[in-house]
Amino acid sequence: MLSAFFIFNVKGEVLISRIYRPDIKRSVADIFRIQVVSSTDVRSPITTLGSMSFFHVRHENIYLVGVTKINANAALVFEFLYKVAGLGRSYFGKFDEDAVKSNFTLIYELLDEICDFGFPQNTEAETLKLYITTEGVRSERNMAEEGARIAIQATGAVAWRRPDIKYRKNEAFLDVVESVNLLMSAKGTILRADVSGQVLMRAYLSGMPECKFGLNDKVLLEKEGKLGSATSTVPGGGRKSAGAVELDDCQFHQCVKLGNYERDRTINFIPPDGECELMKYRTTENINLPFRVQAVVKEISKNRMEFKVSVRSNFTSKNFAQNVVLKIPVPTNTSGVKCAVTAGKAKYVGSENSIIWKISRFQGQQDYMLSAEAELTSTTAKKVWSRPPISMDFQVLMFTASGLMVRFLKIFEKSNYPSVKWVRYMTKPGTYQIRF
């Protein structure tokens, strides 16, 4: 397992160094700095140098690095690194270089707790927060009682939730956030399209509530025999008649009872208090692309180039997209661009070598156009312009590219209190690229 754990800043300086096993020296940090941080061409998260493997994750402006000398389970190592990042976030709000520098004793304390001789231990923030605190040492009188409570929770069945939570108003929020990836060829054929989504939950519920949660998962619907009769509207008014989504793979928070899911694909869980990522999923079938982009580029002469880009929104006219940004690359020897657009603002940004076209509000079923003329300077090296793809950024509310929707969320508690439930949907792009 892990032999050491390091945190580096972007300059390659060691912020945190914790050696778990004696088989490596502290100086391996230098190897990582030289081979990975300072090297421009290494972009793989795993670097094996000699007998050592470095696993790294970049979070904010720091590198979290695990080092091992054996053939460790890479997924486990990365999970651990992400857990550390999550812990940092939940302790300090933002886990970056400054946070590390101002809390380094606490971080060492955490590192001692969550990993023993290289084997990961309990990494649950809720539990850890009980005994690794930012405050000073409490009085001894409380300690015995407190200790008993900590022991029960740390070893109990529901490590992620304290039993004595009380709220006056019981609320639960569900956010479905999808990021859609697209690569489209110049001719308009889709080369790659997939959606990776997550369901985030914020629970402000008293006691130990048991929740049940239903999606329009195709397998589940088929099982329930509802497929034919399901006429529910898919969020965003997509065109799916069947209204079912085929999920390629899902991943759940540890609170979800996987046994039930395996058996009948129902999602039962006791939510942790506050925010958590309940599930992650991925789908590649039947994707609703929120925007269609068409671009025509003409080289009028050696030092003149014409761009015509049109973009169309593909969701219902009731919905709208926010903060739509199109980044249209221009040749590197551009000396000036004249743009005309039907909506929003467009200008040439030299530092990115592209035209940035911003539309703050984009209603559904709309068409907008950009026409631009770039002036080019002559260069000594006759390099052909590689034509990098157009990329897009946006946020579409109440729309899911996969067509996924939450069918129900039920909450059961011993006291049977009433609860309020909210569901929101949002789609944003991962890499949304169109070649031309």
Binding site: N333, S335, G336, E352, T377, T379
Partner: protein, 950 residues
């Protein structure tokens, strides 16, 4: 005038924490500059600022593919600050192959001609930095003018000299140093020592490639040295740590080493006084490191010069005492230099004795902690070795070899092998040493070394028995290197029968000693061992079964070479009569005399990377010729040869040594029965082929000028030509003479001509030529066009093989073979053959000359004339011989007129030529004008070839 934009930009980039941020900032700035450069009215100051920014990005490693034109524009700005940035950009961003070079040449010329010195300096620096070919072509004369002009300031002169030096080093063909040498020599006398230093650097470079052109530098160097060292007249500015201008002194001293010592006794006396003074001044070691360095630099160069001038003088004796102190110095650098200079000293027989006094120290230096010092010690030991101390030195080297670095092992092995061979007083010692060498450093022993052992053993009968006995003992030891196995295999195969009757050396024991190692060695060694077994089969019939079993086993081995050998040997062994076996396994004849491959290998390793060495490592005889030879190139060549041929006069074992030295360097024969493939014969063949190729070239060059002569000659056949030309038509008779005692048969000939000429056979030739007779054939020649005007004669015939008969001693002479030869000879049917005289008066000539005009109808060529050309009259004779009429009323050059004839399209073309010849420099300039461009080009080329090969 500060550039705030630039400082802000640099600060921005420096503050970028990640590469991505820097890239963004750079892209932004590039876009900004591109849009600014669109404006044609951009002020010079703005341009300068943006070019600076571009430069900063460029030196950070970002791609900058525009802005070059703006940089070039800045060159012509009148302001110094803008011009300076322009030059900086040009030198950084424009490489010598860039097309923009042509654009900047003109601005540079303007700046060179400018009267502002700082502009001249900028241009000179840029020229030296870029040093593109076009610049050298266009600007070298301007640079030279700056260097020699009286008005030029001395700091410009310094730069001009260094710029010229750089151009000369990069493009030696473009800088006519020979013509400029006089002016350079004048420059050496400049009153400003800085200028002298710069010019002397240039002279030093010229002296290395054209020593004779600039020979006048010797008295100048002596007189200037005299002034500095003895008269002590130098400006105080040039005193460096109490030493007057050490750089210049070192350069002068080194320069003098490229020339033979002055003949004139007063000059020589002055030189010796200078050296004496330098040595005297250096007796005490100054405390200050810089002072010490400067003083030593001069001292070592002075000692080298002293050795060069007269190795027996008192100065050298004094110097060697100093060197003795140096080689035991605590400073590594001093030890290194001391050893190196001592190796130079040891290069002269007369002074070896003085070096020998320090033998102990030198051997101790072999164990120095610094490898470069160890190398120098090895060189020195190699140089100082002679018959009296060879044994001691070789045994020391062998001892050290066992622990030596891998980096110098191979060199050591070579040197030990050469020394042992050269100074062996006793052959047994030689064999012992070599075997020891193989045992200690088997992997580093190159093939040449063991080839050489085999040759020596083969050529010395007394040695054969001892060698066989020794190798057998070596082979019996459990660890035995593959090289030892190769030597053993060969020697036992040849001479194993000499020891077969002694105890422990019986045939089967010999066989077992070899065969026990057979499985562990590489394929070439196995092949050699198979040949050895065949030889055993011939002399030891008693082990026949064992040997045949091995052959049978190897008939099916995968390796083709081994399989073929096994099959062939088995076939020979199983023949009913032993006759063939006996013939094929005859004892090897002694090898013919040949230069040692070891020496040539050693020399091939020493390559010049810096200033040429003025001497060479390798003992007394290596440097002997050095003293008298004047030309540097010839000197190097002869030195190598002299190392081989000059015997040691002091040696008592002269007879033996001669034998040792005159051995061949070739691979010993492994398969005597394959005579036609024998490597030795093959080599001989090659060498002869080379010689005859040279002869053929000379014969061809003569026939181009003259109508009749011999085209080709070898042991069997002589081929001659008789030609007659009338205008565009000609007749060629080819004579075939048989020189051998046997008939030449299967003679076929074919004339292949280019498109420009039609050749028809008039009279064919018989297929065989009886001994000592001559037959001939006739061709008609017709000239059609100036291009593709050439012809080749292809001949094939079969004759008695002289080469193999000559080199194979008495046993093989009865087996003479007939070999089939083919020859491809260039026939001198060339454009100049079709010239007819056109007598013109002086006025007519001048009128027509101007009428034809310049290029492309004019061609001008400057080249070096052949060594056979003595004066203008000789050249006139040659030109007349070609068929042109020479105008006698031009005194200073050869001026001639002729008509070039052809029957087809081109018709008759008038041509006028003028050849100027500089007797002193052996250079000629040929100017040729004719009414046809094609004819001009072709004729000028041909004439150049003729004059060059005179």
């Amino acid at each position: 005038m500060s550039m705030r934009g630039l400082t802000v930009f640099i600060a921005d980039l420096r503050n970028c924490r990640a590469r991505e941020l820097e890239e963004k900032r750079v892209n932004k700035e590039l876009a900004n500059i591109r849009s600014k450069f669109k404006d044609p009215q951009l002020s010079g100051r703005q341009k300068k600022k943006y070019v600076c920014k571009l430069l900063y990005m460029y030196i950070l490693g970002w791609d900058v593919d525009f802005g070059h034109m703006e940089a070039v524009n800045l060159l012509s700005s009148p302001k110094y600050s803008e011009k300076q940035i322009g030059y900086l950009a040009v030198t950084l961003m424009i490489s010598e192959s860039n097309e923009l070079v042509r654009l900047v040449v003109n601005s540079m010329r303007r700046d060179l001609e400018d009267h502002v010195e700082i502009h001249q300096c900028l241009a000179l620096q840029a020229i030296a930095n870029i040093s593109a070919r076009e610049m050298a072509e266009a600007l070298s004369t301007d640079v030279m003018r700056l260097l020699t002009s009286g008005q030029t300031k001395s700091f410009v002169k310094k730069k001009a000299a260094l710029c010229l030096l750089r151009l000369f080093r990069r493009h030696p063909d473009l800088i006519p140093m020979k013509e400029w040498s006089e002016k350079l020599l004048v420059g050496m006398e400049d009153f400003d020592l800085g200028v002298t230093l710069a010019i002397t650097s240039l002279v030093l470079a010229v002296a290395q490639s054209h020593p004779e052109a600039i020979a006048g530098c010797v008295p100048r160097a002596i007189s200037r040295m005299h002034k500095i060292v003895l008269e002590k007249s130098y400006p105080a500015d040039y005193v460096y740590y109490k030493v007057p201008i050490p750089w210049l002194q070192v350069k002068f001293l080194r320069l003098l080493q490229y020339y033979p010592p002055p003949e004139d006794s007063t000059q020589r006396g002055r030189l010796m006084t200078i050296i004496q003074t330098i040595v005297k001044n250096s007796q005490d070691i100054p405390k200050n490191v810089q002072h010490n360095n400067a003083q030593n630099a001069i001292l070592f160069e002075a000692i080298n010069l002293a050795i060069h001038v007269d190795p027996q003088s008192d100065v050298v004796v004094q110097a060697s005492a100093l060197l003795g102190r140096f080689i035991s110095s605590k400073e590594t650098n001093i030890r290194y230099l001391g050893l190196e200079t001592m190796a130079h000293l040891a290069g002269f027989a007369e002074s070896v004795a003085t070096v020998k006094k320090h033998q102990e120290t030198i051997i101790a230096s072999l164990k120095d902690k610094d490898i470069s010092v160890r190398r120098r010690a090895l060189d020195l030991l190699y140089s100082m070795c002679d018959t009296s101390n060879a044994r001691v030195i070789v045994s020391e080297l062998l001892q050290y070899l066992a622990v030596a670095d891998y980096a110098i092992r191979e060199e050591m092995v070579l040197k030990i092998a050469i020394l042992t061979e050269k100074f062996a007083t006793d052959f047994k010692w030689y064999v012992d040493v070599i075997l020891q060498l193989v045992a200690i450093a088997g992997d580093n022993v190159s093939d040449e070394v063991w080839y050489r052992v085999v040759q020596i053993v083969t050529n010395n009968e007394d040695l054969q028995e001892y060698a066989a006995r020794t190798v057998l003992t070596a082979l019996k030891s459990p660890t035995c290197h593959e090289t030892a196995l190769k030597v053993g295999g060969y020697i036992l195969g040849e001479y194993g029968h000499l020891i077969a009757n002694s105890a422990g050396c019986s045939p089967s024991e010999q066989f077992m000693a070899l065969h026990s190692k057979f499985g562990m060695c590489a394929t070439p060694t196995r092949a050699l061992l198979l040949s050895t077994y065949l030889k055993f089969l011939n002399v030891f019939p008693e082990i026949r079964d064992q040997v045949v079993a091995v052959f049978k086993q190897y008939r099916f081995v995968l390796d083709v070479e081994l399989q073929q050998r096994a099959c062939e040997y088995l076939a020979i062994a199983t023949q009913s009569s032993d006759e063939l076996l006996q013939v094929t396994c005859e004892e090897m004849p002694p090898f013919p005399q040949r230069e040692s491959a070891l020496l040539s290998r050693l020399h091939s390793k020493t390559q010049d990377t810096e200033d040429k060495r003025t001497w060479q490592i390798g003992g007394a005889d290596a440097n002997k010729e050095n003293l008298t030879a004047a030309a540097a190139a010839a000197r190097r060549q002869s030195r190598r040869r002299s190392a081989l041929e000059t015997p040691q006069p002091s040696s008592q074992q002269q007879q033996q040594q001669d034998e040792l030295l005159n051995l061949s360097d070739d691979v010993p024969a492994q398969q005597p029965q394959q005579q036609h493939q024998h490597p030795l014969a093959h080599q001989l063949h090659e060498q002869q082929a080379q010689d005859s190729a040279q002869a053929a070239k000379i014969a061809y060059a003569r026939l181009v000028r003259e109508p009749n002569g011999v085209l080709h000659e070898d042991a069997n056949i002589q081929i001659g030509l008789k030609t007659e030309y009338h205008g565009a038509l000609g007749r060629v008779a080819v004579f075939f003479g048989n020189k051998s005692t046997a008939t030449i048969s299967e003679l076929t000939t074919e004339m292949v001509a280019g498109d420009g000429v039609r050749v028809t056979l008039l009279q064919p030739i018989a297929a065989s030529v009886p001994p000592a007779t001559q037959l001939h054939q006739m061709y008609n020649v017709e000239c059609l066009a100036p291009t593709e005007l050439h012809a080749t004669l292809k001949i094939s015939f079969s004759a008695q093989d002289h080469q193999s008969a000559g080199s194979w001693g008495t046993q093989q002479q009865q087996q003479q073979q007939r070999t089939h030869s083919t020859l491809e000879l260039r026939v001198p049917i060339v454009p100049t053959k079709f010239l007819t005289p056109a007598p013109l008066s002086r006025n007519d000539f001048v009128a027509r000359w101007t009428q034809i005009g310049g290029p492309p109808r004019e061609a001008q060529i400057v080249a070096a004339a052949g060594t056979g050309l003595t004066d203008l009259d000789a050249l006139r004779g040659v030109v007349e011989g070609l068929g042109a009429s020479v105008l006698r009323d031009f005194e200073d050059a050869v001026v001639a007129a002729a008509v070039w004839n052809s029957t087809a399209a081109a018709g008759k073309v008038g041509c006028l030529m003028r050849i100027e010849y500089n007797v002193a420099q052996r250079m000629f300039r040929l100017t040729l004008r004719s009414t046809s461009e094609q004819v001009t080009a072709v004729l000028a080329d041909q004439l150049r070839e003729i004059v060059e090969t005179l």
